[in-house]
């Protein structure tokens, strides 16, 4: 049978869809003999369902959504295959100007710290409760998203219970800024470029970047159904090669400005180029009038083995699903991670391109305060610090104990 070459891939309007856009715009799909149509989708639910029924051959996906779909949590069960990560970091927590001012009033020292913890927010919530005021409303983009776990992680570290102390809602990324401007929500956690919109119009302030909370944290992935991967192995490898080359291009400092121009277009992210650019050529400013930093680690597409589908990332997401009660203790975390994340498929594509690939499937997360080298790879890979802002270390061998180890958690304490 002739390999499938006509493909339809879905994406959501975010800077982290870049590898798909670059692979198409730079002719990298075409160079692999693939004719790819990119389809911008209105919701993650649409992406999931269209991939499930074959209306899309693959898509830009939220990493935890692929695990939820494969487990049949929050919807019909569709086994998904993740052979590639699209990016690390890229999101941030933003609060309204009014909330930031109130947090500064109650805890000026806490607000001056970097990375900023949620302590000022915790104090304000306690004060508001004392005055009988309603809970603050925060928005994320999907129940099974890095943004949901990131915001909850940040709040939980300061003793805030996100299910009890605030109201959490879901809002589509391009609407976040407008909903905050109109006062419907007090804060949100979303990927680039949408935090920069609120900052640039001075209606919001960034509290903390994802890259400060977990310096090399996972985010979006490329996913296809397990059935597609099985039926179309050659086509999948061709897509992976194109996406890997695209990720390398998108990560090169000299290409970031051009990437901003490309992504800003109406058919992709559809946002002003100068806004899209803020999160690509550096980190966006925390507050209007400040200059952002020039650190390109605000979003990482390829360096530091960013494209590798780390099994430890899958297990980490599953621990957060356990932590917040989205899955019960009956879910076999190790088996779920192994079924979805496919480092073997990544290695095959990297080998064809002569790119170094990790030889291990997982790493201890949060154990490297300095730059380090991943030697367990086909060639040594330079890596960046990977600390969590609370100093915790995650070992994928102990998921249940980790899920139960937080001050705020729904997972039962681990029995020894």
């Amino acid at each position: 049978m002739k390999p499938k070459t006509e493909l339809r891939l879905g994406f959501i309007a975010l800077n982290d869809c870049a590898p798909l856009v670059v692979a198409r715009e730079q002719g990298l799909f075409a160079a692999e003999g693939l004719c790819v149509t990119l389809s911008r989708e209105a919701s993650w639910a649409n992406v999931r369902d269209k991939v499930a029924v074959g209306a899309l051959d693959g898509a830009h996906m939220l990493a935890p959504m692929t695990l939820a779909a494969s487990l049949g949590v929050g919807g019909e069960r569709t086994p998904i295959c993740v052979p590639l990560s699209l990016n690390l970091n890229g999101s941030a927590v933003t609060v309204s100007k009014a909330l930031a001012d109130a947090m500064r009033d109650i805890d000026p020292d806490g607000m001056a710290e970097k990375p900023r913890t949620a302590r000022p927010l915790a104090r304000l919530i306690a004060a508001r409760r004392g005055r009988g005021e309603p809970p603050l409303t925060f928005a994320v983009t999907f129940p099974y998203s890095m943004h949901n776990y990131e915001l909850r992680y940040w709040m939980g570290q300061a003793g805030i219970d996100p299910d009890r102390d605030v109201r959490l809602v879901v809002v589509p990324p391009p609407r976040m800024a407008a909903r905050m401007r109109s006062g419907d929500i007090d804060g949100f956690c979303v990927s680039a470029p949408w935090n920069a919109v609120s900052v640039s119009e001075a209606t919001g302030e960034i509290m903390v970047y994802a890259s400060e909370m977990w310096r090399l944290g996972p985010d979006k992935v490329f996913g296809v159904t397990a059935a597609f991967a099985k039926a179309n192995p050659q086509t999948l490898q061709a897509m992976l090669r194109a996406l890997l080359r695209a990720a390398a291009w998108a990560d090169a400092p000299e290409n970031r400005a051009e990437l901003a121009r490309m992504l800003a277009r109406p058919e992709y992210v559809d946002a002003p180029e100068e806004i899209v650019r803020l999160s690509l050529v550096g980190s966006p400013p925390y507050v209007a009038g400040e200059a952002g930093s020039d650190s390109l680690d605000y979003i990482v597409y390829h360096r530091y083995a960013a494209s590798f589908p780390w099994r430890s990332h899958a297990v980490w997401f599953l621990t957060q699903m356990r932590r917040w009660g989205q899955v019960g203790s009956d879910v076999d975390i190790a088996a779920a991670a192994d079924a979805v994340y496919r480092p073997d498929l990544f290695r095959a594509a990297a080998a064809e391109l002569g790119e170094p690939a990790p030889l291990v499937d997982e790493k201890v997360e949060g154990a490297h305060p300095e730059c380090w080298t991943l030697d367990e790879a086909t060639a040594p890979i330079p890596m960046a610090p990977d600390l969590f802002f609370d100093g915790k270390v995650f070992d994928a061998a102990q998921p249940e104990a980790y899920a139960a180890s937080f001050e705020v958690t729904r997972a039962a304490p681990h029995k020894i």
Binding site: D49, V53, G75, L168
Partner: protein
């Protein structure tokens, strides 16, 4: 059974609502404007091009401050139904344990109405294109008659010959002729 139709396209929403005349049907362009708690629907039919699906999905994650949870409707006893709904661009969410047969009939109405709307829109777009082609051909003919002193038949024959020789639609050839003429006269840009 109370049905809420969420569709940013008002014409399509009206068409769907009309098809469900027997039920108590409410229509809203977005979840935000729908006031879910007040309407208290048993079934929500939502257009897949609405960005509100993710918000709706999150309501199943019942928390202290969220309204009644909803679950996506997928009927396993009807093979191909989910595929057909996705292709038609419709999703359905149920609030309580409704009988799948009742949900299915509503969903099928919505799917057929969505397909009908798409057909109507396609027909309209084609009619508009045909009309504008005809207008352009008329203008090109007029131009040839004026500049080359041809009669109407000869002008039309020339246009048709140009179209056949270049293997392009008559409308496209006529449109080129008009823009070239305007350039030669020093107009255009």
């Amino acid at each position: 059974m109370r049905v809420l139709v969420i569709d940013p396209d008002p014409a399509r929403a009206a068409l769907v609502a009309e098809g469900m005349a027997a039920d108590d049907v409410r229509v809203a362009p977005s979840l935000e404007t729908a006031d879910l708690a007040h309407i208290a629907p048993d079934l929500i039919v939502i257009a897949c091009d609405s960005p509100d699906r993710d918000t709706l999905e999150s309501l199943r994650e019942a928390t202290a401050h969220n309204p009644r949870p909803v679950v996506m409707f997928v009927d396993r006893s009807a093979p191909g139904l989910a595929e057909a709904a996705v292709q038609a661009g419709v999703a359905a969410y149920v609030v309580d344990g409704l009988h799948p047969g009742r949900v299915r009939s509503v969903l099928e109405v919505a799917m057929s109405r969505f397909a009908l709307m798409q057909q109507l829109r396609a027909d309209l777009a084609k009619a508009k294109a045909d009309l504008s082609d005809r207008k352009i051909v008329e203008r090109a003919k007029g131009l040839l008659m004026k500049e080359r002193g041809m009669d109407e038949d000869a002008a039309y024959r020339l246009l048709r010959k140009l179209a056949m020789d270049s293997g392009r639609p008559l409308g496209a050839v006529a449109s080129d002729l008009i823009s070239y003429a305007s350039v030669l006269k020093g107009g255009g840009s």
